[in-house]
Symmetry: C2
Subunit: 292 residues, 2 copies
């Protein structure tokens, strides 16, 4: 399948490489052409615009930072839909607003393009290793057509329903993940305040009902004050904002998520937007300094 | 080692059986003698009071519902310390206030008794299977003496430091576990509001950074509205109250835990104190009904 990919950032670049490695003729486009140099050297073709790229391939993958970027690349004047033939398969793997994803899928359908929303979890490591979790919304027939591409990019690929349901699932993932991380941070802070041995606490608590990926991976980073990303606070905030907005539209209360979002806002206010999400610990510490 | 156990509730009774099975001559005492019938039939001896029990054994294990119960059984008029010879090893495996555990350890030391605080996680299933996680505070020499008893009761046994540090670790465990559970509940509610397939959500989200024991075990129960305990809301609340009190003494802010405690209070207010902790979902649902 001739594939095009738009967006060669931290996630998009290694995903493009995995598509190339799986034997798909690849065309690329990204705002900063220099980022494409390695892929072009290895045989990828360049397209000057999303429209030109769409005209040259059977399937387009987009991996972009936010909702406005995806809307511009898909539906803008020189966008994918402007260049697409009918039967084009479009797969947006960015994390964006589910309502926007649904609206874009409708617009795409009007021009005969099947648009899947297929956000991922697993981060840069998962993108490099080709082990992303992929949560897919859109027409079931399009999901089937996309199978070989998903197989090159991810490990756990789940069909979640109609347009937008992939994005909704990603937001559920972010709500659960961020809340779990915050719970771990409170535990780490309480343990430190009580003078408990950091490694012994993770060992003692990690064997039972409090066990989580966040406890195993992020508690030790918090304990040694390693706040390097990983997943940046700024991007986590974008996702939590989308989750809270969707929840409000659906009439679903998320009180913990609201507190977590507030704590991340405090991290950002202190200049920590580019830190890893485990820096939520520092927001709790700042509260302690004021109240104690 | 001749062992006595005081408290034959949901946790204490199977723990007593495991001590007996491991070959320790066992003496038991509990408020309601009828609960001891099975153990007495299998060869355990009965003592009429904690003091009488303490006089007859080398080590006493207590497994009681709360701080006042442990204080009465240890330091009351007919309590363990009243009957103890010097060199008695006392092991309180209840979950109680760390400050109370420290005070009791001091009083015990005055009579030559080494008192360990050794609360557990793993619930009834872990107690039956002998696979509890045990978090131990107290003198290191006493911890070493208790090794054979812990081996009969648990799998992951961690020495956490001086008196009270086992209890502090248990409170950290409860903070992390309850917060993780609440994060899962928000995810389950958002997924339901969005009309996502329940099993597909757990599958899609459970493979990455949002993975936890609570997601794997409790999300499916929430989704099929199975609110049977497991671990009762009422007991979780007791532990969170202890955690919040300890945190306040230490000047550690736990904003998420405060929200979680509030949600459990709402479950209790609606008559759900005897439900399993996964019923926290119903408190979120009640918020939705009022605001929506």
């Amino acid at each position: 399948m001739r594939v095009g990919i738009i967006g060669l950032g931290i996630m998009g670049a290694p995903m493009a490489r995995n598509l190339l490695r799986a034997g798909h003729p690849l065309t690329v486009h990204t705002r900063t052409r220099a980022r494409a140099a390695g892929l072009l050297a290895d045989g990828a073709a360049w397209a000057d615009s999303p429209a030109a790229l769409a005209a040259a391939v059977d399937a387009v993958v987009t991996m972009l930072p936010d909702t406005p970027a995806v809307e511009a690349v898909m539906a803008g004047p020189d966008g994918v839909l402007a260049g697409a033939r009918a039967e084009l398969l479009a797969i947006d793997m960015s994390t964006i607003d589910p309502a926007a994803a649904r609206a874009l899928a409708e617009r795409a359908a009007e021009t005969g393009v099947a648009l899947l929303d297929a956000p991922v979890s697993g981060g840069e490591q998962g993108a490099i290793a080709g082990t992303l979790s992929i949560m897919v919304g859109g027409a079931a027939a399009a999901f089937d057509r996309a199978g070989p591409l998903f197989a090159a990019l991810g490990k756990r690929v789940t069909y979640m329903g109609g347009p937008g349901q992939g994005q909704m699932t990603k937001l559920v993932n972010q709500v659960v993940g961020a809340g779990t991380l915050a719970a771990v941070a409170e535990g780490v802070l309480l343990a430190a305040g009580a003078g408990l041995d950091p490694a012994a606490v993770v060992e003692a608590v990690g064997g039972g009902a409090a066990a989580s990926w966040m406890l195993a991976e992020q508690a030790p980073r918090m304990q040694r004050r390693d706040f390097a990303p990983g997943f940046m606070v700024r991007l986590q905030q974008k996702d939590l904002r989308l989750a809270l907005a969707s929840a409000e539209r659906l009439g679903v209360p998320l009180p913990l998520t609201a507190v977590v979002q507030l704590l991340f806002t405090a991290v950002e206010a202190r200049g920590g937007g580019e830190l890893g999400t485990q820096a939520i610990l520092t927001a709790l510490e700042a509260l302690a300094k004021r109240s104690g």
